[in-house]
């Protein structure tokens, strides 16, 4: 059986049984997701990589406490978010709005269109970083990761209603920030 066919639960069982190398399969499977969430939250490649790595290490250490009430990926995202909160607490008030080196994978073949896409991605990241962290969390989890409000509520320990209000305000702030940045919302 190839590693692609093995379920997350099976891999976790193997890890708990002492086969630590199996964890590399889970890391490979979810590294992009973990790193993307961390990058959108922190806006810095090095810090995002650190936060994602910390999250994977913490997840491994907590495998035996993973209750399987959610998917491994959802549980991992909650750990990534916590790692990001730690990072944000450490550097409160010093969030850089520049230094965003977005290397978004672009499907556009036209160099001009690629450039435009990169500009849009930079603008989006800068707008995201201007949101309060708790608003940014909802936007990243809901609109980038595509999670439901009930999943985010379980993850963050907040009520769905509270999260919806944050999402509404965050979308308005993003619209305002993007418009200020010169984007025409097209």
């Amino acid at each position: 059986m190839g590693t692609e066919e093995i379920s997350d639960d099976e891999i976790i069982e193997r890890c708990l049984g002492g086969d630590r190398d199996q964890y590399a399969v889970l890391v490979g499977r979810y590294q992009d997701m973990a790193y993307t969430v961390a990058y959108r939250m922190l806006g810095d490649e090095g810090r995002a990589r650190d936060a994602a790595q910390e999250a994977f290490l913490s997840a491994y250490c907590g495998l035996k406490r993973f209750r399987r009430r959610s998917k491994f990926s959802t549980w991992l995202i909650s750990i990534v978010i916590n790692a990001c909160r730690d990072q944000l607490r450490k550097r409160r008030g010093t969030i850089a709005l520049t230094d965003v080196q977005d290397s978004l994978r672009s499907g556009a073949a036209d160099p001009e269109e690629r450039l435009r896409e990169k500009e849009r991605a930079d603008m989006l990241q800068q707008a995201l970083l201007r949101l309060p962290p708790e608003y940014r969390e909802v936007i990243v989890l809901k609109h980038i990761q595509g999670l439901g409000y009930h999943e985010i509520a379980a993850m963050c320990g907040e009520r769905e209603g509270t999260l919806k209000v944050r999402a509404h305000r965050a979308r308005e702030l993003l619209r305002w920030a993007l418009r200020e940045g010169g984007w025409n919302h097209g």
């Binding site: 964890y23 590294q31 406490r65 994978r105 609109h143 509404h168 919302h185």
Partner: protein, 213 residues
């Protein structure tokens, strides 16, 4: 947030049922300002959805696995240092008396009793040790520890009645970390263990010391 914004965001969150959605669309069609706000917010949503996944680099997995090894090595070294590191012990009569009491309790705890347990190592110095837990709500209780490579399903406790569960395991002299597992999911530290040890990952294992009589 005013009512105009509220209905747009309800629409974006997919909250309204079909009837309400039809009413909202009618209102949007009649209000060019509202239609423009919706267009802009839809643009924001599209931009977020298209922002795509990013890669942390080809060496990410190797780096995590390497840090995992480092961390475990550090943890192991700390445990070895704790167990075998040289240290100067200062004592007085009270400390000596306490140590003597601990030794006595340990000997009582590992006193041979009953038939052989679930694990019977070839080592003739192994003792039968009974693990017991009060867990009246549990449907299943298992034991995981260093002696069974932390595999709970290898050692199941049997109900004794009155909410007590127990199992007997053959153990050679040594120190063993262990935990109970309730209903296959909840890991519980033995509240009556003589010793506890931080496992380095934020949890506390119970520790049993088995000594030669």
């Amino acid at each position: 947030m005013d009512d105009r914004n509220e209905i747009i965001h309800r629409l974006l969150d997919g909250d309204p049922d079909e009837e309400e959605r039809a009413r909202i669309w009618k209102r949007i069609e009649a209000d060019p300002g509202l239609a423009e706000e919706l267009r802009q917010l839809n643009g924001v949503m599209k931009l977020l959805a298209r922002s795509g996944m990013r890669s942390p680099g080809a060496d990410f997995t190797a780096s995590v696995m390497s840090r995992l090894t480092e961390r475990r090595t550090m943890h192991r070294d700390r445990v070895l240092s704790f167990l075998f590191g040289e240290r100067v012990l200062r004592w007085n009569v009270a400390t000596a008396a306490l140590a003597a009491m601990l030794v006595a309790v340990t000997i009582i705890a590992v006193r041979p009793s009953g038939p052989p347990g679930v694990r019977t190592p070839a080592d003739p110095s192994a003792f039968p040790v009974t693990f017991r837990l009060y867990a009246p709500q549990a449907r299943q209780v298992e034991l995981a520890g260093e002696f069974n490579r932390w595999q709970p399903d290898a050692t199941k406790l049997q109900p004794e009645g009155g909410g007590f569960w127990s199992v007997q395991v053959q153990l050679s002299p040594g120190m063993y970390s262990y935990m109970f597992v309730l209903d296959g999911t909840v890991w519980v530290t033995d509240p009556h263990a003589e010793l506890h040890r931080d496992d380095g990952f934020g949890y506390r294992n119970a520790v049993l010391r088995v000594e030669q009589l």
